[in-house]
Amino acid sequence: MVQVLKRKSLALVGNHAVAYAVKQAKPQVLAVFPITPQTTMLEKLAEYIQKGELKAEMIKIESEHSAMASIYGAALAGARVFTATASQGLLYMGEMIYWAGGQRVPIVAAVATRAIAEPWSIWDDHQDFLSKRDAIWIQMMAENVQEAYDLTIQAFRISEDERVILPVMMGFDGFILTHTMERVEVLEDYEVDSFLPPRQFNLIDFSDPIGIGPIAQPDEYMRIRYEAMKSMERAKSVIEEIMREYERISGKKQYGLVECYRCENAKYAFVTMGAWSGDAKVAVDRLRDQGIEAGLLKVRVFRPFPKEKIAEYLNSMKGVIVFDRAASFGSGGILATEVKSALYGSQTPVYSVIAGLGGKDVRPLHFQKVMEDLVNGKLEEERWIL
C-alpha cells in the first residue's frame, strides 16, 4: 500500500520559500545587504528574527564584501551561517567568495541570479552565478520554487558533511522564481531537525589555537588545492546520498546531480539549468507529440560538474542542444562548453544556444523551434536567440 503523505503546503514566492527553509535550518549568524531581486528574502528573515521565530544574529552590514567576510568569520567560529545576494553584489563579494572556498568552510549562500552590468539590468540570467565556477564552491540551481526550498535545506547538510566541508551556493532565477508564487510543500520543523543536526564544525578553539589561512609555500599551496579538488569529487556521491535521504523524508522524487526528463529513449536532448527547464519540458512534450524523440537533461548541480552522468545520458544521442543563459565571451555558452568537455570522445554533436540574457523572454516555442531546426539539419553550431 502506498503511504500518502499529507504535506503542509504553503503559497510562497521564491524568496520567501528560501527564507522559510533558512528559518527551519536554524542558522546562528546571517549577514544581510540589500540587492534586487533577493531583498525580500532578507526582509522576511529579519521579520522571523523580530518575531522570535528564528534565533540568530543578523549582521546588517555595509557591503556584500563584508557580508561574505562576516559570515566567513562566524563560520570559522562554529556558527551555521547564511547570506544571499545577486549580480553586482555577488561580484562585489567575489574576493571573499574565493577566500571562503579556499578555506573550505561550511557556508550557504543563495544567489537570486541576475544579469551583470554594463548596461544595467535587474533581470535574470546566469552570468553572475557562473562567474564563480572556479571558486571552490558547490553550486546548485533550482528549477522552481519548490526546488529552491528543498535545495536550500539540502545545501546546509551537504556543506557541513565531513566528507565535503565546502561552501554551497544555491542559485535560483531572479524574478522568475524569486517573485513568483507557487504552492510549496514544506517539511515539518522536526523533520528538518533530524535531517540537519546541529553543526559540529569550529576552528576557533582557545584550548587548541591554530592559524587559519596563513601563507602557504608552493608545495603546501598545491597540496591544499589538490585536497579541494578531491573534496569536490567526493561531494558528487555525498550529494546524491543526501538528496536520496531527502527524497525519503519528503516523499519527493528525482533529486540528483542531474534530472532526466523523457530522455531514456530520446534521440535528441536539451540540456538546461534553472527555471527554464520547465519551459523545456513543455517543449519536449510538444516535440514528442510531433513524433520527434526529444528529451531533457537538467543540470541541477553545476559544481562539482556531473560529467559522468552527462556522458552516461547523452553519449549515444543524435544531437544535444545546450541552452545557456550566460556566455564566456570569446568562447561560447558556458554550460555548452562544459557539456562538450563531458562528451569528449563520443560522437554526439553538441549545439550551443545562448538566450534569455538580461531577462529576455524565452518560451517553450523557442526550444521547439531550435529542436526542429536541429532535426531538419538547419541548426548552426552556436545560435543566439536575439
Binding site: Q28, V29, A31, E57, I59, K60, I61, E62, S63, H65, S66, A67, A69, S70, I71, Y72, G73, A74, A75, L76, A77, G78, A79, V81, E95, M96, W99, N202, L203, I204, D205, F206, P209, I210, G211, I212, G213, P214, I215, A216, Q217, E220, I224
Partner: protein, 297 residues
C-alpha cells in the same frame, strides 16, 4: 643556592620571527596579548604581520589567528564575535591587528561599518605610514612630505587623521599609542579590554627600512614623534578627550621639541626644503591649537 628573583616577563608571542631588525611589531603584539590574555582571537589582514605570523608550517602565536583578506578584517571580526557570543563565549576578545593601508584605505568601509554598528571588537592599527609589506608605497596615512616608492618627490597630501575620524563614529573608546611609551600603551589596552563595543587604538610604528633609519633607532624615533608633537598620545572615552603620558605637558609649545629633530633622523624626509619643514611645523602647531580647544572643553 636559592635565588629570589623578580618575576620575569616571558614574551608570550615571539621568540623568533620573520620581522625586520628593529621592527616594533613583535613587541607591540607581545604587550597587546599579554594584556588581553589567552581568550583572544587575532584577525590579521594582509600586512607585514601576515609574514611575521608565519606560514602553514607553524605559528608563533599562542592564540587563534585568523588571516584576513586586505579589505575584510573588521567584517570577519564582526562575524567571529557574533558567533562566539552565540556560543556563550562572553569574555573572548576579538581583536583586529591591521596596518595603516588596510585600516585607512582598502578596509576603511568595513572598519567604518563595524564602528557604526558598534560591534564588540577591539581594533588596533599599527601604523607604519605606508604599504611596507609590498615595499614602501604611499598610503593615505603617509605623512605629507615623506618619500615613498610611489611618491619619489615626497607625498603632497596630509596624513588622514584616522583616530579623530574613528572618534566621530561615537564609539566608546579611541586612543593613540606609541611603542616608546609601553606603559601608556599597556594601560590603554587594559582599559579597552574592560569596555564593550567598538574600541580603537592607533599605534605609531616606526619602520626602519621604510622610513630609512638605522634599526637601532626605532624607539628613539617613536619617542621623538611624541616629544615633537607629531604623534600626540590621547584617549577619547565616551567622547571625552584626554591627553595621556608625556603629551599632557606638550600643550605648552615650549615643551615640544622642534619637528626637525624627528625629521632629520629619517631618510624619507631627507629631501624636504626649509620651506616644507616650516609648513610641517606649522601644521603640528595648528593641530595642537585644536587639541588645546578639545582639552579645555
Amino acid at each position: 643556592m636559592s635565588l629570589i628573583t623578580q618575576p620575569k616577563r616571558i614574551p608570550k608571542f615571539f621568540r623568533g620571527n620573520a620581522a625586520c631588525p628593529g621592527c616594533p611589531i613583535p613587541r607591540e603584539l607581545d604587550i597587546l596579548l599579554e594584556e588581553l590574555g589567552e581568550k583572544t582571537v587575532l584577525v590579521v589582514p594582509a600586512s607585514c604581520s601576515t609574514v611575521i605570523l608565519g606560514d602553514t608550517s607553524g605559528m608563533p602565536a599562542t592564540v587563534p589567528v585568523v588571516h584576513s583578506a586586505f579589505a575584510a578584517p573588521a567584517a570577519i571580526a564582526s562575524g567571529i564575535v557574533r558567533a562566539l557570543r552565540m556560543r556563550g563565549e562572553k569574555d573572548a576578545i576579538v581583536t583586529v591587528w591591521a596596518g595603516d593601508g588596510s585600516t585607512g584605505d582598502i578596509g576603511f568601509a568595513a572598519l567604518s561599518g563595524a564602528a557604526e554598528r558598534n560591534e564588540d571588537i577591539f581594533y588596533v592599527c599599527y601604523d607604519n605610514e605606508a604599504y611596507m609589506n609590498t615595499g614602501i608605497q604611499r598610503s593615505s596615512l603617509t605623512p605629507k612630505g615623506a618619500w615613498t616608492t610611489t611618491t619619489p618627490e615626497g607625498k603632497r597630501e596630509f596624513k588622514k587623521p584616522l583616530p579623530f575620524i574613528m572618534a566621530e563614529h561615537k564609539i566608546p573608546y579611541v586612543a593613540t599609542a606609541s611603542i616608546a611609551y609601553p606603559f601608556d600603551y599597556q594601560a590603554k589596552v587594559k582599559k579597552a579590554k574592560q569596555i564593550h563595543g567598538f574600541r580603537y587604538i592607533h599605534l605609531l610604528s616606526p619602520c626602519p627600512p621604510g622610513w630609512r633609519f638605522d634599526s637601532s633607532l626605532t624607539v628613539e624615533i617613536a619617542k621623538l614623534a611624541v616629544e615633537t608633537g607629531v604623534w600626540p598620545l590621547f584617549e577619547i572615552e565616551n567622547g571625552e578627550f584626554r591627553l595621556t603620558s608625556v603629551s599632557k605637558t606638550l600643550i605648552d609649545k615650549n615643551n615640544r621639541k622642534p619637528v626637525i629633530e624627528y625629521l632629520k633622523l629619517q631618510g624619507r624626509f631627507s629631501k624636504l626644503t626649509e620651506e616644507e619643514i616650516k609648513e610641517i611645523q606649522e601644521s603640528i602647531d595648528e593641530m595642537w591649537e585644536e587639541i588645546k580647544a578639545m582639552v579645555k572643553k
